[in-house]
Assembly symmetry: C2
Homo-oligomer: 253 residues x 2
């Protein structure tokens, strides 16, 4: 099963509808779908929430609401709270990357919750006590407090990666094999000699420089074909020039 389906994002008494909507979008971007509000405020701006949810308005609509955090997480095996502050109750917090794998493993067997406090004050001590684990997102001491939806995005992103739902976009063309690269360097050597960029006695040295430049990052089969094409055309151009000169040597005035 997809463990992300078992991850519940719980927002405790959020203040701004826009943030709730933005959290929905971040969730859907990262393959999460279960939103719960604990102790929601009656005055939440639904319109703003929908606007910010964008194409994730379905998550907003299907959200569940609970009178307290304890109710919202009653069936959850792991309950991970988020905090920016240190201090009592909070000293054992870890970074999202440190928890992500464990959360995903747990989510393969049981619902798990990721809990975010209100924008102004974060989770209070009573709510923290309901959490089995704490996450603290690494941030700059000059301004450690993240926007609610940004905090949710960072955690959701780490879960998404940990769940292995993501396949890196494959290079269209595979990396070129060594023989193909060597042939390319041969062609470049010939071309650079013919166009008069270098003389035979400096060629080895110069080719080392070229190898360094082209070796700095992977070259695909496609890349190598392009580079061979350039060399071939340059050599043709140089040879044509040589022929012309042989036919009509430049006048010496």
């Amino acid at each position: 099963m997809n463990p992300l389906k078992n991850v519940r994002i719980v927002l405790v008494s959020p203040l701004y509808g826009g943030n709730v909507g933005s959290v929905c979008r971040a969730m859907k971007n990262m393959g999460l779908s279960q939103l719960a509000l604990a102790a929601p405020r009656p005055a939440l701006d639904e319109e703003e929430a929908q606007r910010m949810a964008c194409h994730a308005a379905d998550l907003l609509r299907r959200r569940r609401e609970f009178p307290t955090l304890k109710d919202a997480v009653a069936d959850c095996g792991l309950v991970v709270g988020t905090t920016v502050r240190g201090g009592l109750y909070r000293a054992h917090s870890r970074a999202p990357r440190a928890w992500a794998e464990r959360l995903v493993a747990a989510a393969r067997q049981t619902p798990v919750a990721l809990v975010f406090g209100p924008e102004d004050n974060g989770l209070g001590n009573e709510d923290l006590a309901a959490c089995t684990q704490l996450i603290r997102i690494p941030s700059a001491p000059a301004y450690p407090s993240l926007n609610l939806s940004h905090a949710a995005m960072v955690c959701a992103y780490e879960l998404f990666l940990a769940a292995g739902q993501y396949e890196a976009p494959a290079e269209v063309s595979p990396e070129a094999p060594a023989a193909m690269r060597e042939n390319m360097f041969d062609k470049w050597r010939q071309a650079l000699l013919v166009v008069g960029f270098m003389k035979e006695d400096k060629a080895d040295h110069m080719m080392l420089a070229l190898r360094r430049i082209f070796g700095r990052s992977p070259l695909t089969v496609k890349d190598v074909k392009v580079l061979v094409g350039i060399a071939r055309q340059a050599r043709w151009c140089g040879q044509e020039l040589q022929k012309q000169r042989a036919a009509a040597p430049p006048r010496r005035d």
Copy 2:
């Protein structure tokens, strides 16, 4: 030097002031400070931008504006564009985590740029051509397109971690040494026998279960002291009960 000071976030023609402000906040949260707008639109909502920037309004104020992306990145060694789409120009994109270390290494020597396109269309082909590298943030196929400030947050977060600016919050108390843990198990064994939870013949088996439970996660010196305290008190309680019973054996009616 701090490499994050050399990282420039470039927003190309952003539509919404709120997003620009949110990007400022995400940047400051992650230790970044250089914001540039390329080809800014004249109608950007400054008020909304300030509101969303929160305590990062200084970054918003100090932003630089350039007529084109090329102008905005003219002095940058690496120019990393962001994209959600695949296709020509975009096939070689990599995930933020794959680029972060290289970006940070480059930023120790030269300014580098992270470029984000307009909210509606992303970076166009001309702007992509001005980028030396491409980032594609992993996301769910059902809704791959992130909010602008969320995309900036994910990238900034990866850079912040790669720059090693973050020190994990230290546990207040170190992990308990083995001898201390063994003493704790001794105390629990005695206590569980005295309170009548187990008999001597089952004790070894039961203690293995307890070791498994307490061994599942690290125990600090402080944790162990708490657990030893519990065992000591329980044993005292059991012993007191035994004394009482010895003094006044229960009546057999």
